[in-house]
């Protein structure tokens, strides 16, 4: 694209939006909230939203006054029948869409969203699926969003399935849903949280900050012998590194589901 628009140029126009095609909804921003120094949580009111499963995503479409459109996918942090839909977006400084969503979107703004999307990267309670295998969640950065939705749905259902979340973040300030995870860890549904800091660890943390390595991964996940279902989400590089190691550690590739966000 020769004339790549700036984030400003793709801001929705004040003009009324056309009637959306099936699956497209006009969402109103109900609230925004700084999630981390680099990310914003966006709560949307979506009239007509049919509800969504934990782990699904939606597409956000922005239209510039000249008609240029940009569409990006965002995981949904919430699940269930509510028409209040929660996103959490990380800002890529040179990105087209995310700087606008993170810095400029305000309560009352309107966005077009398409969804819910994706039946592959979802978790539902064992009571519904009959699947009692333990569940290993592995997140890099903003990749925690759909996995948070799964952990939350797990707690809401008081589901007895053992859950573990391995969460790789740059620094303690970059943890998404920090308070919420503290609550989930104490809920009746079993959840163990392991955090790996890649740039700066909290004071007195036992391990030096650094990228997650195969040995650390092995130590923090359900062993292959327990046949866990595994959900891995984050940047493409992170997801591929982790998925390759899991297979080397004996995990069944069919039990590993991935969601690549793109980027580095």
């Amino acid at each position: 694209m020769s004339d790549a628009p700036t984030a400003q140029a793709v801001a929705p126009s004040a003009a009324p939006l056309a009637v959306p095609r099936s699956g497209w909804h006009v969402a109103t921003v109900a609230a925004t909230h700084r999630e981390t120094p680099n990310a914003t949580r966006i709560e949307l009111d979506v009239p007509g939203w049919p509800g969504n499963a934990a782990g699904q995503h939606l597409d956000v479409r922005l239209t510039a006054p000249d008609g240029y459109q940009a569409t990006r996918s965002y995981s949904i942090a919430s699940s269930g029948s509510s028409t209040r839909v929660v996103l959490a977006v990380d800002k890529l400084p040179d990105g087209e869409v995310s700087p606008y969503l993170v810095d400029d979107v305000r309560a009352g703004d309107m966005l077009e969203v398409h969804g819910p999307l994706g039946a592959f990267f979802v978790w539902a309670p064992a009571a519904d699926t009959g699947d009692h295998r333990p569940v290993q969640l592995i997140a890099g950065g903003s990749g925690v969003v759909p996995l948070y939705a799964m952990a939350h749905a797990h707690a809401d259902a008081s589901d007895p399935t053992p859950f573990r979340l391995l969460y790789s973040v740059r620094t303690p300030d970059d943890v998404y849903f920090d308070d919420e995870f503290a609550t989930l860890v104490d809920a009746a549904a079993p959840l163990q949280l392991d955090v790996v800091y890649t740039r700066r660890a909290p004071e007195g943390w036992a391990t030096a900050p650094g990228r997650i390595m195969r040995e650390a991964l092995e130590a923090a996940v359900f062993p292959a012998s327990e046949r866990p279902r595994v959900f891995v989400c984050g940047s493409t590089g992170f997801v591929e590194r982790v998925a390759d190691w899991l297979v080397e550690l004996g995990h069944d590739p069919r039990s590993i589901r991935t969601e690549r966000y793109g980027g580095a």
Binding site: M1, R21, G23, H57, L58, D59, T71, S73, H114, G115, L117, G118, A119, F120, F121, A124, T129, G130, D131, R229, T236, G237, R254, S255, R257, T258, E259, R260, Y261, G262, G263, A264
Partner: protein
């Protein structure tokens, strides 16, 4: 080389063609015969369109182009598509 994502990322555009969630459908690759959910394929996006490749052998399974009020899908590397009629977990 452009970074790829996976098939779940094109659930939105595919919803214009299929009445079911196509990312859960399994396709058979013309190159290597692998049968896998579309969600497991590799997806390369660019301004010109989207290319879907087999994650086992890299064969082009499908191409997708969206422009204005038109969308176009080619399925040149898929010899069969299987859908589950009842929801099931993997």
């Amino acid at each position: 080389m452009m970074e790829h994502v996976d098939g779940n990322a094109i659930a939105g555009p595919l919803a214009e063609f299929f009445t079911f969630d196509a990312t859960m459908a399994s396709g058979r690759c013309v190159g290597c015969g692998t049968v896998a959910e579309l969600a497991r394929a590799m997806v390369y996006r660019s301004g010109a369109g989207t290319v879907v490749r087999c994650s086992t052998c890299d064969t082009v399974l499908a191409t997708l182009v969206e422009s204005g009020d038109r969308a176009w899908i080619g399925l040149r590397g898929v010899t069969a598509i299987e859908v589950r009629r009842t929801p099931s977990e993997g």
